[in-house]
Symmetry: C2
Subunit: 451 residues, 2 copies
Amino acid sequence: MVDIIKVKGLYSMCVRRHAPLLTTIERYYHAKHLRTSRMFPGLVSSPPTRQQVDKSSRSQFPETLCKSQKLMLQMGLIQGAAAGTFYTLPLLTRSLEKLKRVIDRTMQNIGAQKVTTPCLAPASIWKASDRWDVMGSELLKLKDRQEKDLCLAPIGRKFRDEMRPKNGLLRGREFEMKDLYTFDASLKEAEVSYNEVCEAYLQMFKELHLDIVKVEADSGAMGGSKSHEYQLISEIGEDTILRCTKCGTSISQELADSHPESKKCLQENCPGNWTETTGIEIAHTFLLGTKYSKIFKAQALLANNKVVDMQMGCYGIGVSRLLASAIEVLSTEEYIRWPQLLAPHQVCIISQQTGHFFEESLSIAESLQEELLSKSHLHNEVILDDRHKLSIGKRLIICEQFGFPYLIIVGKKVQEATPLFEFVDVYKGEKQFLSREQIVSRLSQIDTVVV
Amino acid sequence: MVDIIKVKGLYSMCVRRHAPLLTTIERYYHAKHLRTSRMFPGLVSSPPTRQQVDKSSRSQFPETLCKSQKLMLQMGLIQGAAAGTFYTLPLLTRSLEKLKRVIDRTMQNIGAQKVTTPCLAPASIWKASDRWDVMGSELLKLKDRQEKDLCLAPIGRKFRDEMRPKNGLLRGREFEMKDLYTFDASLKEAEVSYNEVCEAYLQMFKELHLDIVKVEADSGAMGGSKSHEYQLISEIGEDTILRCTKCGTSISQELADSHPESKKCLQENCPGNWTETTGIEIAHTFLLGTKYSKIFKAQALLANNKVVDMQMGCYGIGVSRLLASAIEVLSTEEYIRWPQLLAPHQVCIISQQTGHFFEESLSIAESLQEELLSKSHLHNEVILDDRHKLSIGKRLIICEQFGFPYLIIVGKKVQEATPLFEFVDVYKGEKQFLSREQIVSRLSQIDTVVV
């Protein structure tokens, strides 16, 4: 059944250099379901040590790398490409697709409809709103074969020629955003739409168990009358936030500087004090008013035949940044922790090490995997860790490092009269022995995002 | 409940000009579920006439437009952006997402794993394989703020500076592809992988009921020992295919020209004759051998410690092209037909026109919609056509033009002792009266792709 091939330098097709961290992968053919031995890459052998990662990343990345970025390199979740751009490898790609499904669902629930816009955009749009010059050298510009000016649109998949890309996915030159625009005929209705979207954002962050704070912010270059940032509290965050110790109201340092009255008037209504903290900006919402609708003539024809400029709202979530910064905040130096719903695979089954009980244990693991996979909400969620040259203990540590939420160990106790499995709830830090029926019942109830 | 706003020129934010086809949209707030009146755009009023589309497209598009492209403009499925690039609007976006899910599922089933690659790529990769020069001006090149050479990578989301973009999504400057690479340690194993992928492609095309022919082809600039194109037979296709009348073997005209023996030797084994037909290339597979693995040192370390260059296969499906050309082939001049599984919404319920039975009919329609939507496979699949200023007959024609597979009319017969609905299976051309239970049971069995 197993036909092992070790592959060296498999990544070089993608990465224009040998990838020192990820040199070896084994493939087992004919495995019916997902196994660690079929994963690409990084799940076969133990992850490289922290020292290896540090040494390798110093030569690859001139920019600073934060904790989550080092972890992602160590675990084979990303691979650097050009400066400020990254390949996302299978595990991270799965997690990102889950996040996109969660965002899609949230947006569908408030009646938003999805469109896609091309990356290549004619210069004329950006010139009409003066943003060709305002955005300056941050805009990546190019000419086509007819010498026409184009730019890589900073909407949808976003491009930004960062002066100093750093922290990997947190501040890259190419990243993914979810954008949303609302159009209303009056400011009052636009405010209703605005609040509905803000509420949906907060609800979604809550569903992901992320401590994200809504912060009153400066509208900056975008313009408009009202704006909020959604900040994930983190030491490595570059934005300073002022939070009231009493009522929890938060405003950005920028806003406090440019409009000191915003700080004062809030304080008058509340006896609390302002404390400083730092955050990573995950999302931003703007009540734009008519700034862009005037320029581009987005007008509404009312029932009374009056024509008015549309009141716009614009809203963005940094998709890759959300995931990267969530990992940054939730993980330790050695253990990746995902927002649990977004872990690439929810369940990992670990069978015995090579030895006298090996075959039977593998067969029980396969049968359990098959039963679990047959449930539609566990589609592709259950992988089998068949690195049977490594001890169960060693694999347990590696799987905990990868942050799979539920681990099932097919150990010696499955040979007893009442077969028992060791069941680990990694995120709760609980271990217990459960029967097969109890495991199936427990995992029938977990939330998943099918991708 | 209904609070109508007519919106003029809503598109101008996106399209840098007024969109003459899509000037009016009505929004009903507080509608709990999907309604035509909430769709953006095109579902509210009747579609524009063919003459309006022709007139408008002549001014917007210097390039030729084929049937499917005109239909998509007419129905508000796409909107032109810069030359050779398009906005995909909500209905088409849904359909494309369904196609991507089908492709993902197909690829997962053969054990493929998904990675994403950045659009921005350093010149060095393309220079190493000489493709920077070979691809020449088809490659979109740019410089960053450090004056470093970059290109928009022709992998993943693909960019190609077409000399003459035409037929909209069929030959654009920016389009989406699904790529796949296989790596094996020996040619024999690589051939097994190659055949497995080809088989999966054909199986998927069959699932979509598309008449796609596997054609032996020239490897061209890609190199390698074996290659096949997957051609959708169509009059507007630009590729000439030779098909044997007897055994069905197909080879590309290019291959027959460059390697006349490929034609001869096949004919020797079969008494059939070659006939010429034209097709649209939807996918291409290459058994590449070691051409790229040699350059980039993608090597395998075998069990006997021997190091060999990997045998590569490379495979691509034109995602947006597949959908556009399927629509081209399946549609008439006036009626869009999708691969049924990929229709943006499977079911449309049409309630009564404004009049004495209006309220009751709408309430029955809403309740039926709610019951259907509660089934997980019908998530977001059921829309309610509430354009109640239009007669049922008029809306029936429009819905048939849009190609929703199943229509349910809440007509006078729901007032009878045994309430009956008119049920239309659009793709089979069948109409019948069914009870509510019969409809629910019938629609419980349809195949859908949840997005």
